[in-house]
């Protein structure tokens, strides 16, 4: 199999279970890319906020330069969810009678804990970040990938787009009837929201399947960690998204290709990874494969 050439990709997602070293390897990858002169943005979507600890720097909600050509920031997903649902509540308050508003607000609040909410908030952030910063940076590295399930949802755009399209049609038909009945039909917020979501799903579907996007799976040594890694890989690939790289982390010895994929081997670090210099042994592995 041809060795991977990292310079060919623009967007990087590292998948893997908690604790396998996603944040550490994402940071090392971003650092390696920036050292080769690529203007790189490192984004943490990890609710554990390990990035600021690892970099020993406070990170906020906007990119901050942490090394030459390297900027980083942490997304506070819970806050993003809160802000979004607060806005929905404010929209509701503007149009709903006081008698009804409490019931509707309760219904909106259910969304915080609805299945998949955190995952959808994650892809919303990915969408916004790639859209807002895609032009300003050569490479964007995400330290967490959306789960296989969410990737599948977004990467099978036909299903999802057909679904949104049928909602759009339903609404258009309803508005047409209202128009025919002589009602004045103005700019419809329902339609504009549905169209915005449609554009988001289309964009993410393309992004996930693009040949400029690299999905990598981080695995640790041991039979069970490898099995879990293989399952993650399958989940992503069954969603129609190719996994281009296996990152074998904390391996004392190099093996061959894992799961018939190009595999990079990373040694265990002598000390806990704190500060950029501690990542040097990992950065040098990535640098060899930038090409």
């Amino acid at each position: 199999m041809k060795p991977v050439s990292l310079r060919n990709y623009r967007i990087f997602f590292l998948s893997g279970k908690g604790g396998v070293g996603k944040s550490t390897l994402s940071t090392a990858l971003a650092l390696a890319l920036s050292k080769r002169g690529f203007k790189t943005l490192l984004v943490s979507l990890d609710p554990a906020h390990s990035l600021s600890i690892l970099l020993k720097k406070g990170l906020g909600g906007a990119p901050r330069e942490v090394a030459p050509s390297l900027s980083a920031f942490e997304v506070d997903l819970e806050r993003e969810m809160r802000d979004y649902l607060k806005k929905v509540e404010r929209d509701a308050e503007k149009i709903i009678s006081p008698a009804l508003i409490e019931k509707v607000k309760n219904q909106i609040e259910l969304a915080y804990n609805s299945p998949g909410a955190l995952e959808l908030a994650t892809v919303d952030s990915v969408y916004r970040i790639v859209k807002n910063y895609g032009r300003g940076f050569d490479k964007i590295v995400f330290d967490t990938a959306p789960s296989g399930y969410t990737v599948r949802l977004m990467a099978s755009p036909d299903k999802l787009l057909n679904w949104v399209d049928s909602l759009i049609e339903m609404r258009e038909e309803a508005l047409n009837y209202r128009k025919m009945a002589g009602e004045e039909v103005k700019e419809d917020p329902v339609l504009s929201i549905l169209r915005k979501r449609r554009e988001e799903y289309r964009f993410l579907g393309e992004l996930f399947r693009s040949d400029k996007t690299l999905f990598g799976v981080v695995v640790n040594p041991g039979e069970l960690p490898l099995k879990i890694g293989e399952r993650t890989l399958k989940e992503i690939e069954e969603a129609g998204v190719p996994v281009r790289l296996i990152l074998a982390n904390k391996f004392r010895e190099k093996g061959g290709e894992l799961f018939k994929k190009p595999t990079l081997y990373f040694p265990p670090l002598e000390k806990e990874p704190l500060g950029l210099t501690s990542l040097e042994p990992l950065v040098s592995v990535f640098e060899k494969y930038i090409g």
Binding site: L100, K103, Q107, Y177
Partner: protein
């Protein structure tokens, strides 16, 4: 006089007829809004909506029909299903 009565009759037919057609159109529109609510709130009739977090954004604009939906649509869907399967 006869012509006047004829016109008057036609006027009423026209007026009532138009109103009926308008009613029908609004009714159709309303049922489509109900359908949209059924999709968003499918969880309430036992079908999970994996995109609830996204579709909840539409709720403020449809919630004028929320109570009516709960009383008529949701009730009738549940009634249809439960009458076939029986309550668990």
């Amino acid at each position: 006089m006869r012509r006047f009565l004829n016109s008057l009759g036609l006027f009423f037919v026209g007026a009532l007829g138009t109103e009926n057609a308008t009613d029908k159109l609004l009714k159709k529109a309303r049922y489509l809004d109900f359908d949209l609510l059924t999709l968003i709130l499918s969880d309430e009739i036992g079908i999970p909506n994996p995109l609830y977090y996204h579709t909840v954004e539409l709720l403020p604009y449809l919630s004028g029909e929320l109570e009516a939906w709960r009383e008529s649509e949701k009730a009738s869907i549940l009634w249809r299903v439960l009458s076939e399967t029986g309550e668990p």
